[in-house]
């Protein structure tokens, strides 16, 4: 290809008219560093500039210059002594700001950690308090019911004695045939793994499950017993049963009344 082609392309490029393959080709040619085309291009640009200069002039809208000067005022100037000083000042301020920012972030992170821990602790305390409160309410309800039971003349107190391995244990039942009752147990040894104590109400020869005993660490339990359908209980007994309980007693008796 003769260089003549590129001279034509340079003219098209100068007025922004190249497209497609011509544009790709000419830019590649320029990128190769063709000094002739560089010179041509520069000359066409000068020609266009002088053409513009030779055109009738027009005073631009006055607001533009004001806006530009304001814009310049708001930004830091470049490298004069004053500019350098300002840049230094701005730079220092920026560093200080960044440092403050980091300090702030560090402090904030620390406080967030502490606050987070406090929040978690507070939540834990709250949960414990709520649990304690529930337990207390339960106990209070139990005692109230116990007081109500004791006021009732129909209520009787039934003693239970420890049997066998639980010979040292003792139990007491407040019982009202119409209302039901409460059982109190003390000194019962902890049930072996996989086992639990189950309470029975026995009418005649028929035992009826009356709930699993919830022993505390001291081997004590205090819990309500629902009234029986026929309203009559002859014997109260506690047996050692598989955890979760069984419908009819299978294990050894540890506590029994009578």
């Amino acid at each position: 290809m003769s260089h003549e082609t590129f001279e034509t392309l340079a003219a098209g490029y100068a007025v922004g008219a190249l497209d497609g393959e011509d544009l790709v080709q000419f830019e590649a040619h320029l990128a190769e560093g063709c000094a002739r085309c560089e010179t041509d291009l520069r000359e066409w640009r000068e020609t266009l500039a002088r053409t513009a200069v030779a055109e009738p002039r027009a005073i631009p809208p006055p607001g533009v210059k004001d806006a530009l000067l304001r814009r310049i005022e708001q930004t830091s100037p470049r490298v004069t002594d004053r500019g350098r000083w300002l840049r230094w000042a701005v730079g220092t301020a920026a560093v200080a700001l960044a440092a403050a920012g980091f300090t702030g972030m560090y402090v904030a992170a620390r406080y967030e950690a502490v606050l987070g821990r406090m929040a978690r602790e507070t939540a834990a305390v709250k949960q414990r308090v709520e649990r304690s409160e529930a337990v207390l309410r339960e106990q209070l309800a139990l005692y109230r019911d116990g007081v109500a039971l004791l006021r009732d003349p129909a209520t009787r107190v039934v003693e239970m004695r420890g049997v066998g391995t639980a010979a040292g244990a003792a139990g007491r039942v407040l019982w009202n045939d119409k209302i039901g009752g409460q059982v109190f147990v003390a000194s019962l040894p902890a049930a072996p793994p996989g086992k639990a104590y189950e309470l029975w109400t026995i009418s005649g020869r028929t035992p009826r499950a009356a709930g699993m005993l919830a022993l505390d660490a001291a081997g004590q339990a205090a819990q309500p017993i629902a009234a029986t359908p026929d309203g009559r209980v002859d014997v109260f007994a506690v047996t050692l049963e598989p955890e979760g309980g069984v419908p009819a007693p299978t294990g050894p008796i540890v506590l029994a009344s009578k």
Partner: protein, 206 residues
């Protein structure tokens, strides 16, 4: 080195300043050099000197006074920001700013065209001069117009048409060929001839 000390008090900039001085002649180049050091007064004078040339060019391309004012501000803002990168070996400050102004104006027009507005007006409109700017300069402009014959107006009609569609209309050579129903080669040749003729009219760089 006296001039150097005056420039910035930095010996390391002295060599460059002297080279610049040797390579750049004319007050405009001097203004750009001072703008590069953050001299706002130089910018103010650079603006006063070139805005009246650049504004009608932008106006002719974007055609909307508000858009033209925007582009004008953008162009001069860029010259302020880029003054330090201006290389006198690559052209005069006039070519520097005119090239930039034309490019930004075309960018604006293309953005407007993408928004679906009419882009290229009729040829008559395209060849019409920019409408008067705000203020009472109309009479002055008309006087200028009488006194100075536009270089473009002295081109043969076909060449003028091609270069106006490309340079002011933002059309590519293929678009111009389609529009004028001329072979692509003819359009390319007309553009080159137009530039060659314009160079004869306005003169080569000294």
């Amino acid at each position: 080195m006296e001039g150097t000390a005056r420039i910035g008090g930095q010996p390391c900039h002295g060599g460059r300043a002297l080279v610049v001085k040797n390579g750049m002649t004319g007050p405009a180049a001097d203004l750009v050099r001072r703008m590069a050091t953050g001299d706002r007064d130089a910018f103010s004078r650079f603006y006063d000197r070139h805005a009246p040339v650049v504004y009608p060019l932008i106006m002719r391309i974007v055609r909307d006074p508000a858009d033209a004012a925007d582009v004008l501000q953008e162009v001069f803002w860029e010259t302020w920001r880029a003054a330090g990168t201006y290389d006198p070996a690559r052209g005069t400050p006039e070519a520097w700013i005119v090239t930039r102004a034309r490019a930004r104006a075309i960018d604006r027009v293309r953005a407007v065209r993408r928004r679906g507005e009419t882009f290229v007006a009729s040829l008559d409109e395209a060849t019409a001069a920019a409408p008067p700017a705000t203020g009472g300069d109309t009479a002055d402009r008309m006087a200028d117009r009488d006194a100075v014959t536009s270089a473009l107006e002295r081109l043969p009609a076909a060449q003028r048409e091609a270069i106006e569609l490309a340079y002011y209309g933002g059309l590519t050579q293929t678009e111009i060929a389609d529009r004028l129903k001329q072979p692509l080669g003819t359009v390319k040749t007309r553009i080159r001839l137009a530039l060659t003729r314009l160079r004869e009219i306005v003169g080569s760089p000294a």
